[in-house]
Homo-oligomer: 417 residues x 4
């Protein structure tokens, strides 16, 4: 390697190290506003205790980087491999997801110590080695993985505090105002469109390869469905009319007696929404959030419109000319409120499948994305708690049809005939 | 209406009546080989008692035709509306699917009487009226609906007899021989292909509209995966290697201790397969049947190939130049054995979704297909117990990923790079 | 053995044979009023299909008598040992109770053939051998066992027909009239009382040995609680007042939304009771029947009285001077109606435990009674479908606290202070 | 009230106040050795988070004393009434037991503040009023209630730490040595014995009234069953022999794959027992502990002996001449080890029922004991973590047959014939 290219490499390595430090620190910062007791709670199986997220994201670097590339690396604790493996079956047995909340130990302090231990190892790795392309790629994945868990931390903390009877909240700042939504539709013509990740930057395996897909003429709403619109659905007894619902959706509504979005409640005839700012009066102009695919689909049927496919929504997002980094972080970043997208992940009608000629990661990370391509729906567009540097229009988020503790909402589509 | 066109109408009405009589009779014939006790059993929730099928298909004509088009029609029994409604929620409450086996009454004799009552009504309707286009369309749907249930009858009877400890069988004839499978692949080039139902004949709403879809170059196997090939997967411990499985598939295998296809068993070191002819030694050349999507997907991964999309498989079927009616009815129709497709429904990697610009049936039948477009995978190609006149290449069968009591198998695909 | 005693033995053997034939025939007779389809239904796990009872009682004689005492006995079918073993774990694996309804085979005809095969074997055993004391004791137990199942047949048939939507009934005779209940209390003084089986006749192991038990002064009601009295409890919202209920009882009421006895229903403001004669208007003078221990206990608390202990109820029954054989068979034997006890099994406050110095049967039959001495409550007094020759005042019936498909009712007690 | 009797009253009130302060402080002390994260864990539904115990015992005084007797008492937090009510249904809805672990708030600090708030209120009550007999009785019950929860704290903390993968322990002191058990039997003759609480001191409603019970001659072992004896049962494959087990016990063993006592484990062929001192090698002389009633009953059957009735065990305890306060606190109080009883609660064969003429507490506390008299077995004798001042020979502890996270063991009995 000649001097110039070594410099360049080192400069890219230094930049990666900077990212590493910034992103790792951010996870700890997110949790700094909650109490020790909040770190360990798991009020439903989908939610993981915040301290588990802090441990698991650390385990990723220990398992994928330090134990492979750092000679004589000494693990912090032999049991952590079992405790903090999420779902990588080829690595052996691991704690069942729904049991994560049963573990009072390791304590938060021990997990922060674990983070320090691994971060120290990573610093040494960065400083003592010229990282291979494989290692750098793994660091990059590890950081995006950690950013995914930052979004999960917001979701899970909201659920933990929101399912508590006491009046709790994440932020004590003022709630940012909602903006008057901008009405209208954007039309797209028939043809072959490019779908998937373009260019050199980072993307997950499931966003590739870039490929063509044929679309019929369609139209996408310029605005997200608002609380006010969804309230009309409720007032029209939409939850009680089977003709709007998927079969499994109707079963879900009936068995769980679902009558409103996850965080809505009614007291003395007035509607409230639980937010990271605590319980606030329902604002009719604010985007609807925390609904299941079943509810999104029923609402679209009731409106006599439909949800977009993931291709359609990606075409719309690419068309918007907003850079990936301009997504809106409304709930927690008041100054950015009111932009045309980014506030909620939008459900698409596309079930999560492999793109044509999809190649999963090799080795352990083969389990990262591909094995979930069954019984999940794709969401696109990012949300208020998605880290900006983590977001891409080609990003494919996915959840099961009944899940709704993520920041999920609706952007409608319709055919042009 | 002038005389010539009336004649034509009447002739088409007569032809529909002939079909009605033939198809209705066939359902009773299928059940004629089992005992009264077999008509009422429901050894797992997915299976319906044969007598329930006989009642439900009759209810369809009573509910959709007679009660609407036959003046002063008198229902056979007021309770049957509740008992024999399968899942049409807009028609009101109905017996829960898993409870169908709890009902010892109505008896088989009463249900046959019910069939006669409704058939008599239908004869009168045919003879006394010139049926409207709507009525004829409903009769046509009702007959295809009944043929779907004929396939279900075979599936459910096989399960009922096969889950019994005693040595029971549906047919006492000799087992038809298996043919040496024909190896090779058929290649298809990149481009836009027509997908969906073509022409005037009958098709369900979910096969329409005919539309274009873009495909990359692909190749489809000329032969179905055989028992012998799948046995190699088992012998390589494929059921114990998580790297081949979907996440939900691995959970399914682990929780249910799945180790082989549904009807396989091993006795004294020899493999057997339960068939409609009873338990027979496993024939290595016979197509693999009764596997879940999870197993099909794991097998394809293990082979380093993949399942076709539903578009790819439909293109292959259309290319085959076999008419729809030439599908093979091997297990019960020995003379037709050994053809290249039709023996088993082939799992595709496509999750069941609406075609572009899909319009569901209107009214009650809106619930026929569209509300199941969630958490199901498409299968194509027909199977040995599919009625020939019911089959089309555009047919979209669908089941959940864990289900395997239908005649499901594998035809592999691969990319041409 | 001298001639006289041999004669005596043979006469006793002949008498046993007569009983055998009469009791075996009675089981078939009980089922003769239902349809083939009814023989196989199992609408809840506690209920066994009638054909299973016919098979299981036959298996008892095959397993306990013929396979041990009949040289070269040839079993009717090797699989029946597995199919018709109820719960004798030392004899190996058996069909799970809740799966009995899944078995369409053997057919009713095959089971009747099985009965004939075993009865023929038993006839030969009786005619060809002088039975040992052990064998005769086993025959005696087998016949009482069959009579227990005759009561179960009535219970299970009632449940099968009663859970059907169609208007079904067991008997088409007129409903026998109810009698005006006779009010009053019978007092008993403090002291040691004899409890358990007295004398030479047949009794189960759990009724022995005869022993002393100390009682404080108590009083027992001369009449059973009537439908009318229980209706007052309902009208006072007894089902909604936790202060009357056991902790597990309250959970049971809440989770199952229990609001009335098992077979009660209300239509157009009028109460009905499902009986073996079909649905009949609720008669306020008829004894309350088909309630759980939870309901019996709550009712007694509401009345500010209590349920008797099993000792107190046995003392009352012994005091009544009615012979064991005089119990009342009201529901099906109209001429005997209105006697002071025998119409319903009365819940006692005694949890089912071993009597002092209890010795269970030896061998396989050790599992007959003793292993159920946990989480069951004792009932005493017989009911309208208890075979007269099977009944004794010392009889200890037992069910779990939530069960109520047996003919269970209430006779109240109170302390004399 | 004259001066002398007022003095006496005040002196008794002062003594109660002293007890109050000592016992309330003890609960906090027990928890002082664990981490904040341990206070909130609930690894199985039966276990309550330690912080919940601290809150619930405080709620008892707020609800039963302060809100009734303290004029204008201001509750610490209106929601705590719902959060910390355990099971008093007449007081309204409360948190489901299995959900106690989902609540990250109130924090431990808040609960300790709550304790201070209520303790301050109680101090004022004591200092400002001459307490009525009712109030003093409620304080006394509240303190015994708190001592019950102190034992629960030890049980639950042991389970929380013991179900953690990491090497955790409650005490870091040395394990006290086990003593050689003293063999032999104590005989008792036939007759009427006094059962229940004698004299003036405190006892729960369920220990009264004192009454007579008739016993046949019996013998009780002078020693508790040891680990070594139970290991012989395991080595004889006692867990795999259905003939020793109750029916429900066999189901429990089979479904949960039970193969040893709760805290036993085997590593490299050596047995270990988890204790409050962490994992220690199994000592064959130490009393067996943490077994279910099912296991206790199966062991007794295997030994061809039996469990004592609760009457027999109480007679033995009364005979022992050890005062109530002399029970042994072995595991945590090493100096007292090796006494003849008190180390483990001994299962009796008696299902928990009302004594003759039992009168439950009136008002809310009616729910304290009586409503659990169903499907529970009585244990007697106290254990190593029972507070000495809480213990009485007449004490009736009770658990369900499958539970074993309490300090439960076996003392055998046999008949003298």
């Amino acid at each position: 390697m000649n001097y110039a290219s070594k410099l360049k490499v080192e400069s890219s390595q230094q930049s990666l190290l900077d990212q590493y430090q910034r992103i790792r620190e951010e996870s700890v910062q997110i949790c700094s506003k909650i109490q020790v007791e909040d770190y360990a709670a798991q009020p439903m199986p989908d939610v993981s205790p915040p301290k588990w997220h802090l441990g698991h994201t650390t385990w990723f670097f220990e398992e994928m980087l330090l134990s492979k590339f750092y000679p004589n690396y000494s693990r912090f604790n032999q049991q952590f491999h079992h405790l903090f493996n999420s779902y990588y079956k080829v690595l052996g047995a691991h704690t069942v997801q729904g049991d994560r909340g049963n573990l009072s130990r390791p304590t938060v302090a021990q997990i922060l110590e674990y983070r320090n231990h691994v971060d120290l190892g990573m610093m040494r790795l960065f400083n003592e080695q010229l990282l291979s392309a494989e290692a750098k790629s793994l660091v990059e994945i590890g950081l995006h993985h950690e950013q995914q868990h930052q979004e999960l931390l917001y979701m899970d903390i909201k659920y933990i505090l929101g399912s508590n009877l006491l009046d709790t909240r994440y932020s004590f700042q003022d709630v940012p105002p909602a903006f008057q939504p901008q009405r209208g539709w954007t039309n797209f013509s028939e043809g072959l469109y490019q779908i998937g990740h373009v260019g050199e930057g980072f993307a997950y395996d499931n966003e590739k390869p870039l490929h063509q897909s044929y679309c019929y003429p369609f139209s996408i709403s310029k605005t997200l469905v608002t609380n006010g619109e969804f309230l009309s659905f409720i007032e029209d007894e939409g939850y009680a009319k089977p003709e709007f619902w998927l079969s499994q959706g109707w079963d879900w509504v009936s068995q769980n007696k679902i009558q409103q979005p996850l965080y809505w409640s009614i007291r003395n005839g007035l509607w409230y929404e639980y937010s990271l700012y605590g319980s606030i009066p329902l604002d009719m102009n604010r985007p609807l959030v925390h609904i299941s695919y079943f509810e999104a689909n029923a609402f679209a049927n009731w409106k006599n419109e439909r949800l977009p496919t993931e291709q359609e929504l990606e075409i719309y997002l690419n068309h918007s000319q907003l850079k990936n980094s301009q997504i809106v972080l409304n709930e927690l970043h008041p100054n950015n409120a009111g932009k045309s997208f980014g506030e909620v992940w939008c459900w698409t009608s596309s079930q999560y499948s492999a793109y044509p000629r999809f190649k999963p990661y090799e080795g352990v990370l083969k389990e990262y994305n591909g094995k979930f391509m069954c019984n999940q729906f794709v969401l696109k567009g990012g949300c208020v708690v998605t880290p900006s540097s983590h977001y891409r229009h080609s990003y494919r988020n996915f959840y099961q049809a009944h899940q709704r503790w993520h920041f999920s909402g609706i952007r409608l589509a319709k055919d042009i005939l």
